[in-house]
Amino acid sequence: MINELENILPAVKNESQKASLQNAIAIGIPSMKQEEWKYTYYNKILQQGFQPAASAFDGVAHQQTTIAKEFIEANSVSQNRIVFLNGIFHPELSTLTTHPKINFWNSNNTAESQTKDFLIELNNALSTDGFFMEIGDHVVLNELVEIFYINDNCRQIINLKNQIKVGKNSQIKFAEYSISADGSPAYNNTVTRMEVAENALVEFYKIQDGGALFNITDNMFVAQAANSVCNVTTLSLTGGITRNVLQFDINGERAESHMNGLYLLENEEHVDNRTLVNHNVANCESFELYKGILGGKSTGVFNGKIVVAQAAQKTNAFQSNRNLLLSNDANIYTKPQLEIFADDVKCSHGATSSQIEDSELFYLQARGIGKEMARGLLVFAFGEEVVEKIKHEALKEKMEKRIGELLKIDL
């Protein structure tokens, strides 16, 4: 991989991107020897043959419009859409571009400061597309903004770099879908930075459902100003190796941050959720609920870090990670990390792993519900606590239906 990156270095002309690529090469690919990669074998993604490239994938993308169109028609719950096919912005399928209240560019050339993270540097170095979206002040958008990443037979690493700015007093909801048109191997390495201005209210739903061969490394950074509320809910429904890094920087007082996640794993699926909340100022609250349903030989990893700065008095920070293990071969590694430098705070964390309760199972069976269906209902109920955080009725129902389908229950 590093050799391949060195080979494409001459082709990268943009100075910021070139610096990032050099930086990525210097950092090297993540190794399980690193604490934050202890349970996730990054090389396993690369071993599937995904190539880094300095230019957009010039394969079949636009010829697949018909498939993508059908797919969107079947899955979309909104009229505001941004569509990327194999990482390339698709203007015909995207409807949001001319929205009167949103400034939208289908590229994001924001210069980035240097990091020590291989994936973020790789993303900046090789991003060919992505979006920049600016929502002005006092914009209340009732309709959901849908972002589709549709992959189709592409063995290139797709690096999407996005930036979202939500203005003061504005309200907006996003749903981001990572999906595959044909179930073929895919790897998306995405970085999204979002700024939430004062009094803004933002909901962001990540739906990862690309099938067993779809790999994701996602970095999302949210910066919140005073009195804002932001909720990021991540549903990892199907996938290969998925790693979600979610960071909140709470920079204004009386802001509220919500992080929710549901990972539904079977076979050899692997999801690694890492969250970091930086409470930088006083009087803020953060709430975190991640729930896992793990079957087969799947692996779940959860690392939740909360840092409360000395100035961040009167902070309330709550974190919970609960797991339902459905098989003896499933694994969950969970770790809360609290670093508290202020003295007047309320912080709590909890992690559990459990199995289906026999008494609940019997109660359902005693009412005539077959064992498989009864198990499905109980598992569904476990996940529902996260799904019901989705504050968009049509999307919530769609997700409930999809989860029911994956659990083989008919609701």
């Binding site: 309760e357 609940e360 019997f362 005693a366 519900i369 109920a381």
Partner: protein
């Protein structure tokens, strides 16, 4: 309808039922009374197929079928219902979804299509009235945050929805105040027909003032030691359970 012959059952090697025999015919209400720890609830659990019990001897047939061979859900589908002594809370599953699944799984076992959503809602509303359930009940999680009385009413409500042939009420009266007791008993009485039957397990004669039984059985030490008409319950109330223990000695 139900024939239990010389039933022996044990849990973790300890014998609880020690040769129990009972026959219930359509249209009958049987009361089973007796002190704590005599195996009344075990009987209900064994009949509905709860895990953990070893049947060491005896037979149970229901409408001619070997009941003990069936899975719990198959017993329910065949028309056996247990109103639990301690109803289980199921967070996240709404009463509506729970009962829709139950009704439709039972219909499926009979080769019927799922009930149309409108018909289902209508049926639910009708049966909710029977046990005086509040409207928000439909969307609440099964038994979660319910008071003791609400849980017991929910059991009777489920019974009304599923319309079983044989209903076993396991101490449905325990922990109920007089109003809840009246609602529960009223529900049962309205559901009585010439084709279905009830086994009412209770400590106290009180419930039997409302649900008048055809036969009263006294259970002690894993078997039925005396049977009689409704007056037996009154006699028991008067003489107390020590009298039963003496009966058992005589029987042995």
């Amino acid at each position: 309808m139900l024939k239990i012959n010389n039933l022996h059952a044990s849990i973790s090697g300890k014998e609880i039922l020690k040769g129990l025999s009972l026959e219930v015919k359509p249209g009958e209400v049987h009361a089973i009374m007796g002190p704590n720890g005599t195996g009344k609830s075990t009987l209900g659990n064994v009949l509905t197929g709860k895990d953990g019990y070893d049947i060491t001897q005896g037979t149970v047939t229901f409408d001619g079928k070997d009941l003990l061979e069936l899975e719990p859900e198959e017993r329910a589908q065949a028309g056996v219902f247990l109103a639990f002594q301690y109803p289980v809370e199921i967070p996240g599953v709404s009463n509506a979804n729970f009962l829709k699944a139950a009704v439709n799984e039972i219909r499926k076992s009979k080769g019927l299509d799922p009930m149309a959503p409108n018909d289902f809602l209508k049926l639910m509303r009708e049966k909710m009235e029977l046990v005086e359930m509040k409207k928000d009940f439909i969307s609440r999680s099964v038994n979660q945050g319910f008071s003791g009385g609400e849980k017991k009413r929910n059991e009777i409500f489920q019974m009304a929805m599923l319309d079983p042939k044989l209903a076993i009420l396991d101490e449905t009266d325990s922990g109920l105040d007089i109003d809840a007791l009246r609602i529960v008993a009223n529900g049962v009485n309205k559901l009585r027909t010439k084709d279905n039957a009830f086994i009412v397990i209770t400590h106290y004669q009180r419930l039997l003032d409302y649900i008048v039984p055809d036969v009263v059985h006294v259970m002690y030490d894993g078997k039925i030691v005396k049977s009689g008409d409704k007056n037996l319950a009154l006699e028991l109330e008067e003489k107390g359970y020590d009298w039963v223990k003496e009966l058992d000695n005589v029987a042995m």
